[in-house]
């Protein structure tokens, strides 16, 4: 060992110098490309912000589109006064919050059971859960549409064109992945903890509420963020299943009602889209580490 380090020391200076030089170049190129891609990545949201601060006269003027000459908040104020937009926002919020709660109520017990309490077929089920996560919404919306119509015929319950019907189908998008994240988190909790709890006379319910949920809080937050973002940005189901203005959620509402015919009120559309993007962005800004943990958990642990 000592011989090796002596031998290496004799020619360490030139190697180090050339490494330093190549490192400086690597840094330079890295920053160059990072700036380039940051411009590309941030261009649309920034342009949306610029447009949202213009009045309709300036939007259609032939001046530099990347600059605001007369900044105004009128577009935002108009949206806050528009009952349609507030309805979309309320629908989106209620749906997203309920979906998060439902997802957790289904995922936490299921992940607990699949990661700790084996039963017949539980391993197959865990893999199956992951596979259902891969079944895209674009495959399911047509049969679901028909199933909803069938339910209406037989029971008289109308599910088409009601915003709350979305609460029933959104969990299909959130539960499989949330369960998958939580299985990985629960599996990483040392077995000694639940053995100790069992010995001390805790039931499974106590084990779940007193040990697993507190210890896996980071995983649960990550799963909740995931469920919220999915429920908030889902576009296909509400587009297919809801039509009247008071039943729409934000993404569909902005696309279908703010864009009326050829009279595009772009300042207002961009303001609406930015406000619609705000909740996920705010969550991301404050809980970035959890957000990223949830994102990477799916692939690194699965």
């Amino acid at each position: 060992m000592s011989q090796h380090s002596i031998a290496a020391n004799s020619n360490v200076a030139p190697v180090q110098r050339s490494m330093q030089r190549s490192r400086r170049w690597a840094l330079l190129w890295s920053y160059f490309f990072l700036v380039l891609f940051a411009i590309f990545f941030l261009m649309p949201p920034i342009y949306m912000l610029i447009t949202s601060l213009k009045d309709s006269g300036e939007v259609s003027a032939v001046t530099n589109p990347w600059w605001v000459n007369r900044p105004t908040f009128d577009n935002y104020l108009a949206l806050f006064r528009s009952s349609d937009y507030l309805t979309f926002f309320r629908n989106s919020c209620v749906i997203a919050v309920i979906v998060v709660v439902v997802t957790m109520l289904i995922s936490i017990p299921a992940a607990f059971s699949l990661s700790r309490m084996k039963f017949w077929g539980s391993t197959t089920l865990a893999t199956g859960v992951f596979l259902t996560y891969l079944v895209p919404d674009t495959l399911l919306f047509i049969p679901l549409f028909k199933i909803f119509a069938f339910i209406n015929q037989t029971t008289g319950i109308e599910l088409i064109n009601h915003w709350w019907a979305l609460i029933i189908i959104y969990p299909t998008l959130t539960v499989p992945f949330a369960t998958w994240i939580l299985i990985a988190y629960f599996a990483s909790i040392p077995k000694e903890l639940d053995e100790a709890a069992l010995i001390d006379g805790a039931g499974y319910f106590q084990m779940l509420t007193k040990i697993f949920i507190p210890v896996a809080i980071p995983g649960i937050i990550a799963a909740m963020i995931f469920a919220f973002t999915v429920a908030w940005s889902q576009f296909l189901y509400p587009l297919a299943f809801t039509t009247s203005a008071d039943q729409l959620v934000l993404p569909v509402g902005i696309v279908t009602t703010l864009i009326k015919g050829d009279v595009y009120n772009w300042g207002q559309i961009m303001a609406g889209a930015l406000l619609g993007a705000a909740p996920p962005l705010v969550i991301y800004a404050f809980l970035m580490d959890y957000y990223i943990a949830g994102l990477t958990a799916g692939a690194t642990k699965g």
Partner: protein, 308 residues
């Protein structure tokens, strides 16, 4: 440890029967806890997926069984083959670029000093955080035929303005561009996480042996990241193949159906055109890629199971 032992003895002595009953009931409890998940998945995912196959064998008014007539009808239509081609071009091109850009950016972020990495990572993930329906509206406005802010720049630097969404080639280019913009950050995060787990000593050793950056990528990074690359590419292929939001908002399939992918065409036929069986038949073409992915993932799960 000693404490554990004594408490074990005490509790075992105190209630041996409850413990036994407990263990016997364990699998029942486990099943009950997983029951909501099982019910949800079977009624709202598996059943609709199978129902979709049944729907595809009915006629337009859904009164008569027509076997494979919907499919033979599709095979005879030129639009169908155009959609197949466009779906494949769209998915493959977008995934290749997303993976390549994500890989490059992960490297660049990994190269810069650690204290700046968080800031850059946070900034570069923003396209992924904005709901795609919202950001696509922004792109739609950037591509606007009369007020395109991109064309404004192009004209300034002496290039011809581009008819982004009106010309078939550029419309296809645009939907792929937006998809790459939205998806590349996801790859960046995945690959950055994977890069962090590659031991730094490997790179140092390679540098001392005189390896250049390309050799380091080819002989160290790529082999170390093989698993994560294949998984992300597979996921992304499925998601991109079944993409709906971007194409729907940007072009709605136009000009003249040139940018339709399976999902948007199925929506047009099934929901807007009121031909549910035909729409279902079209959407079923997303199944093969799903099947291939399932096989790969199941193989991966088994392999990991054996390793553990």
């Amino acid at each position: 440890m000693e404490n554990d032992m004594t408490s074990l003895q005490v509790s075992a002595a105190r209630r041996p029967i409850t413990m036994k009953v407990f263990l016997r009931r364990k699998s029942t409890v486990a099943f009950l806890l997983a029951l909501p998940l099982i019910v949800l998945v079977t009624t709202l995912v598996i059943y609709p997926a199978l129902f979709s196959m049944y729907l595809a064998t009915l006629n337009k008014s859904m009164e008569r069984f027509v076997g494979l007539d919907n499919f033979t009808f599709l095979f005879k239509r030129e639009t169908f083959w155009m959609v197949v081609k466009q779906s494949c071009i769209f998915a493959v091109t977008a995934v290749v670029f997303k993976a390549a850009i994500g890989f490059m950016l992960a490297h660049f972020v990994h190269t810069i000093p650690a204290k700046g990495q968080r800031k850059w990572r946070g900034m570069l993930l923003i396209p992924w955080v904005i709901p795609p329906a919202m950001s696509t509206l922004g792109w739609f406005w950037l591509f606007d035929p009369t007020y395109s802010a991109l064309n404004w720049i192009f004209v300034r630097i002496g290039m011809d303005p581009v008819n982004w969404l009106g010309d078939p080639f550029w419309a296809r280019f645009s939907v792929i561009l937006v998809n790459v913009w939205y998806g590349a950050p996801f790859f960046l995060i995945m690959y950055l996480a994977a890069l962090k787990s590659v031991p730094e000593q490997l790179f140092e050793a390679a540098s001392i042996d005189g390896a250049n950056w390309w050799q380091k990528i080819w002989y160290i990074t790529l082999p170390m990241m093989r698993n994560i690359i294949s998984i992300t590419v597979l996921f992304s292929l499925i998601v991109t193949f079944s993409n709906f939001d971007i194409v729907r908002i940007l072009t709605a399939g136009g000009p003249v159906d040139q940018t339709h992918v399976f999902a948007t065409w199925a929506f047009n036929l099934g929901i807007q055109g009121n031909d549910i069986p035909l729409g279902a038949s079209v959407s079923l073409f997303m199944l093969p890629i799903l099947g291939i992915a399932a096989i790969f993932i199941l193989r991966g799960v088994n392999k990991r199971g054996n390793e553990a």
